[in-house]
Symmetry: C2
Subunit: 126 residues, 2 copies
């Protein structure tokens, strides 16, 4: 797989995993309808515990990105079309962005800088 874990990072392993799987979905390394590896398999591949992977999968399910079928496996959901996020999702993203934007401003970034960064990231990720 495309995932690399830094065991001694200050961001928890299950969050690193969640973020990288999200990038994998965005980047279409994993296509909608595909199954994720079983928690045991992925755990063995990454050298981490089964429960850590399980926790990550449930995070992804909370975010609506995968569906966990009990006793069977985890399947990547069909992604939303671009630009049709609902109000709830926009609120959620605003809360995520707020401290990042505040820090950006205080670091001297202007609207242009934010636009460039996001455009670049969208190209890189998408």
């Amino acid at each position: 797989m495309f995932i690399q874990i830094q065991p001694h990072s200050d961001t928890p392993i299950y969050i690193q995993l969640t973020q990288q799987i999200i990038e994998g979905i965005v980047n279409k390394d994993i296509e909608p309808g595909e199954s994720l590896p079983s928690v045991r398999t992925l755990a063995a591949d990454l050298g981490v515990n089964m429960h850590t992977v399980n926790k990550s999968y449930h995070e992804l399910e909370k975010k609506g990105l995968i569906t966990i079928i009990p006793k069977s496996g985890a399947i990547v959901n069909v992604p939303r079309k671009m630009g049709n996020a609902n109000a709830e999702q926009l609120d959620y993203m605003e809360k995520m962005l707020r401290p990042v934007v505040a820090e950006g401003i205080v670091q001297g970034l202007g609207m242009n800088d934010f636009e460039k960064l996001i455009k670049r990231l969208m190209k890189t990720l998408y």
Copy 2:
């Protein structure tokens, strides 16, 4: 002061503090040259430990936002002019933004959505 701590949040107290002080600086509740309250005073006000506030202040110093004068106090630095962030700062912000943007994309946000959110946040914060 303008700070409100949620003791049982999943984001650590010292990070809540750091973020809110950053917003205070951006929002000019605290002007450049002003002193922050002493670690003991602020800790007493917020009902948290001295060392927690101290940790937050040192985070702010790492970010270049305040200057801690040993045995004296902490002073808010003159902020950078808008739109003249250097390459290092842009790299740093790109790393901060990356997981947020990835999650935004997967939640259905398009470039327009990001622009609107950031414009709104900049108005709110600045």
